[in-house]
């Protein structure tokens, strides 16, 4: 053992990055991401923290809307009003649950074990997949409640489902990274909403207008533009998150 040397034969901090055996391969990354997803899903099904939170929020919001508004009379703006109410309900219910995946890791202090064991990209992809599953469950629940309690009629179900899926992908791509950023902050809930809203505003506007078209019964031709915008938004946020997540996770 050498101690307190004034010079070192290896004082250059540059490390050898050529070793491919220590770099995670795509297949092992996919397996690790799948393992993170399955772990989160298993833990969630046992505790039901996030599931209960989003389900309760969705149900109370739609029931409150139903009691307050009742079935709305038909007018030209009705599809837009329904679409706006639907996406606002989904957005705020998502705020209550989507940050959970990272916040729980920090609060229960399991993040250190995960950081030491899993490649950052695998953690991001696994959490993204878990959040998407949670959001799709929320989409389904909220939409069914809207149809049953507010008597919303969906003119083009296929387009509506595609827009809901594309909007959810964008929502998850944006909020998963933000959830990782705020997980170690002291005022997580407020910070999550504050950071997410400016990023989600463009997505929300396009998703509402697109969904209104689908509710009206517009064809796929009219729905193509909002779908393309939502998918482009998702790809941009997803790629940016892949680049940024390592720095956020290791900070």
């Amino acid at each position: 053992m050498k101690t307190n040397q004034t010079s070192s034969p290896h004082s250059d901090s540059t490390t050898n990055r050529e070793n491919t055996s220590l770099q995670p391969q795509a297949s092992s990354l996919a397996r690790a991401a799948w393992a993170v997803f399955r772990k989160d899903l298993r833990a969630e099904l046992r505790t039901r923290y996030a599931l209960n939170a989003v389900a309760l929020f969705a149900v109370t919001t739609v029931v409150a809307l139903s009691l307050g508004l009742g079935p709305l009379t038909k007018s030209g703006d009705l599809p837009l009003i329904h679409a706006a109410l639907l996406w606002v309900a989904i957005l705020f219910a998502a705020f209550t649950g989507l940050a959970r995946a990272f916040v729980q890791e920090e609060e229960t202090r399991t993040a250190a074990a995960l950081r030491l064991s899993a490649p950052p990209i695998a953690v991001y992809l696994g959490k993204l997949l878990f959040n998407l599953t949670l959001l799709l469950f929320l989409d389904l629940l909220t939409t069914v409640l809207f149809v049953v309690l507010l008597r919303v009629e969906i003119g083009n179900l296929g387009l509506f489902a595609a827009l809901l899926l594309a909007g959810s992908l964008g929502l998850v791509a944006a909020t998963t990274l933000i959830a990782a950023i705020i997980a170690r902050a002291s005022v997580k809930g407020a910070l999550f909403a504050v950071l997410s809203f400016p990023l989600l505003a463009p997505l929300l506007i396009v998703a509402i207008k697109g969904s209104a078209l689908a509710l009206e019964g517009a064809g796929w031709g009219q729905g193509r533009a909002p779908l393309q915008v939502l998918l482009a938004y998702t790809v941009a946020l997803f790629v940016a998150s892949l680049f940024l997540f390592g720095s956020v996770w290791e900070a």
Binding site: H10, T47, T110
Partner: protein, 224 residues
């Protein structure tokens, strides 16, 4: 200068070492408070360092630096493996860490925890291999229990199973026998002896009985 002193020097260096952990002018702290300053040391395969010192002297911080959970404010930490040179963040596949800070998933069973960490590390471990690992740390037959039902001592044993899952050549133990009973301490002693043969071992402790594990003792002093 580093507020530390080496009390014993008893090298068991091997001439064919291919593993070297080197710290060069390493400093660390939290905000304005400096915990470690200008620390230099080098450890080779087969060597054990015990880090002693009062609370707040930087023992746990040093171990967190070595496993890459924290970055030094100055200086370099390099793992030399043959001709390769890796930073702590790049060397996580060769480092195992046991510490009171380390928490595993309470919603999962012990076996599910180990299976999960094996999978994210890209390791293939059969249930029998994981059972054998649990047996090694004294948790044989308790693999199907949720961690939420574990005592603190059982949780500490499981931390050893987690740290040994990938058979790391570098093992970092922070307060290694905390919450363990006599049999648990025996398990730790066996792990320490096995690791001394296999690689590098760094132990941070306040327990005077654990100083005997070290080839070297680094005593850190609390900085005002």
């Amino acid at each position: 200068m580093c507020p530390c002193a080496f009390l014993r020097y008893n090298t068991r260096m091997q001439p064919t070492d291919d593993l070297l952990l080197e710290l060069h002018e390493v400093s660390a702290g939290y905000g304005a408070r400096h915990v470690l300053a200008d620390l230099n040391l080098a450890l080779r395969r087969g060597e054990t360092l015990v880090v002693a010192g009062s609370n707040g002297s930087g023992k746990s911080t040093l171990l967190r630096l070595l496993c890459g959970l924290q970055r030094p404010t100055a200086g370099d930490i390099i793992y030399h493996i043959g001709r390769r040179r890796l930073s702590p963040a790049e060397a996580r596949d060769i480092v195992g860490w046991v510490a009171p800070d380390l928490q595993l998933y309470r919603e999962l069973t012990a076996l599910e925890n180990l299976q999960f960490f094996a999978e994210v590390r890209g390791l293939r471990r059969s249930p029998a291999e994981l059972e054998a690992l649990l047996e090694q740390v004294g948790l044989g037959g308790r693999g199907a229990d949720l961690l939420a039902a574990y005592s603190s001592g059982m949780g500490q044993r499981l931390r050893y199973a987690y740290a040994l899952l990938h058979q790391p050549p570098v093992l970092l133990l922070d307060e290694p026998t905390v919450t363990l009973d006599e049999r648990g301490a025996g398990v730790v002693e066996r792990i320490v002896h096995a690791q001394r043969e296999r690689g590098i071992l760094v132990i941070a402790t306040n327990d005077p009985r654990e100083l005997r594990f070290g080839d070297y003792i680094l005593r850190l002093e609390t900085r005002g």
